[in-house]
């Protein structure tokens, strides 16, 4: 009996240690991949020989596999999402994704001599990791949190871990969209919202 107990305890110990190791490895790998991607983006941003449009195009090409814009589109509508027809869902996703791409690439194109430092990694639950980073320039430090999730099924055109929200100085891009879309839809229709989104991108 004592032996069985000892074996069980040993097994438990290994599971806990290996489990933690696996999680730590996963985090490290993601961090390496993330920083590599950031370097790629910075190379594109610094290539001032290119025109602004083609630079933006290249930034979008680098960023798209990292982000789950489609999930963000769905979440931004909250419960309203389920009420949409399939057609409207598809149109909304397309518009939202385009808007996000444009908004991101123009923001990132303004980077100048800035560095990204990962200062903390949070794993609140399995399949979710958040990187707390500082965007360091000579003037200031800007705290940006990138939230990743691991989809159950990997999509061929996407990375294993995908960003589903970004918090800049505590302001969550997704939360802000959820709130403003909710308020918009209280007085206006989804078609009007889609028209407003199409004007933005």
């Amino acid at each position: 009996m004592k032996k069985v107990y000892k074996n069980v305890m040993l097994m438990l110990f290994f599971i806990i240690v290996f489990g933690q190791n696996l999680a730590a490895n996963e985090q490290l790998e993601l961090k390496k991949h993330f920083l590599k991607k950031i370097d790629e983006v910075i190379l594109v941003v610094e290539d001032k020989k290119l025109s602004k449009d083609s630079r933006n195009g290249n930034i979008i090409k680098c960023l798209t596999p990292m982000f789950d814009f489609e999930l963000m589109a769905k979440l931004s509508l909250g419960n309203k999402w389920k009420e949409l027809s399939k057609e409207n869902q598809d149109r909304f996703i397309a518009l939202y994704v385009e808007r996000m791409k444009q908004s991101y690439s123009s923001k990132i194109d303004a980077y100048k001599d800035e560095k990204v430092e990962v200062k903390k990694i949070d794993q609140s639950q399995e399949g979710r990791i958040a990187f707390v980073t500082d965007l360091v320039s000579k003037e200031q430090k800007l705290e940006i949190v990138y939230k990743f999730h691991k989809p159950k099924e990997k999509r061929s055109d996407k990375d294993n871990w995908l960003i589903y929200d970004v918090e800049i100085l505590g302001v969550s891009i997704l939360k802000t969209d959820i709130a403003q879309f909710k308020e918009f839809l209280q007085t206006k229709s989804i078609t009007e919202l889609m028209d407003a989104l199409s004007k933005q991108s």
């Binding site: 999930l71 123009s106 505590g170 302001v171 939360k175 709130a179 403003q180």
Partner: protein, 258 residues
């Protein structure tokens, strides 16, 4: 529980046997829809939106429009002209000068919140920047000694002790605020050398005209250094007022938590 579920599902399967088999496409759609709804539910806890208390939304909306117009037609062109005339290093020095003047406010509010190490860092910054940095025009504390500024104001102090934000209020020209932060402007102004009230101690400005001049210079200078920031942010709004309101409240909550 799982056994029960599987039995029920089995029965459901049996009863649907007689019904026409759905096409593969329809099945795929159902599967995709379930996945999507699952996604929305899986993340719903994380994105529970707390509604901002907003009884003055009519007024706030109007004032946001007014402020946006003031930015577009006054602040922006003036800042552009100012930027064209003055070299960036001079403008950075003007910013440093004003930042240095607000030291008493940051120092006191750090103390009020028990953040003594931040307060002492602020104290060291003030001494260094006022002397070596020539009345705060330069920031050697940061560039040579890596001493960071720690922005704290009375609104954050109240928030730190659990005072809620109250209704959201958009202030003329100053932009988004709330009752807590608006009231806090008064105690902070007592610690600011830029003021128009009669004070027993030294202040940089004494009359309302001087006060407005100094404040205008500070704001135009700030804008000239952060020209695109507001415009880029504004681009992401489908409706400017609730967008700015949410950005402000989330940002303040983060500042209070720090």
């Amino acid at each position: 529980m799982t056994i029960c579920l599987s039995i029920i599902l089995n029965f459901a399967g049996c009863s649907s046997k007689n019904i026409e088999k759905p096409s593969a496409e329809a099945l795929y759609e159902v599967k995709e829809n379930n996945a999507v709804n699952g996604d929305v539910e899986e993340f719903s806890d994380e994105f529970k939106i707390e509604e901002v208390y907003d009884p003055f939304s009519g007024y706030n909306r109007f004032m946001t429009g007014f402020n946006d117009g003031a930015y577009e037609y006054v602040l922006k062109p003036v800042s552009k002209g100012y930027k064209a005339v003055l070299h960036v290093e001079i403008r950075e020095s003007v910013r440093n000068f004003f930042n240095n003047l607000y030291f008493p406010m940051r120092f006191a509010n750090n103390i009020f919140q028990g953040k003594f190490s931040y307060a002492s860092e602020e104290g060291a910054r003030f001494v260094l920047n006022t002397t070596v940095g020539i009345a705060g025009l330069f920031d050697p504390a940061k560039s040579c000694f890596e001493l960071q500024a720690h922005e704290e104001d009375f609104g954050q102090t109240l928030g730190f002790y659990g005072v809620g934000s109250g209704p959201h209020i958009v202030l003329p020209l100053l932009g988004p605020s709330n009752l807590r932060d608006m009231i806090s402007l008064y105690p902070d102004s007592l610690l600011s050398p830029i003021d128009y009230n009669e004070r027993r101690y030294w202040t940089l400005t004494d009359t309302l005209a001087e006060y407005l001049e100094a404040k205008s210079l500070e704001n135009v200078n700030y804008m000239s250094l952060n020209m695109d920031r507001y415009e880029k942010m504004r681009k992401d709004a489908v409706d400017l007022y609730p967008y700015l309101r949410d950005v402000y409240e989330q940002y303040r909550n983060k500042q209070i938590k720090e």
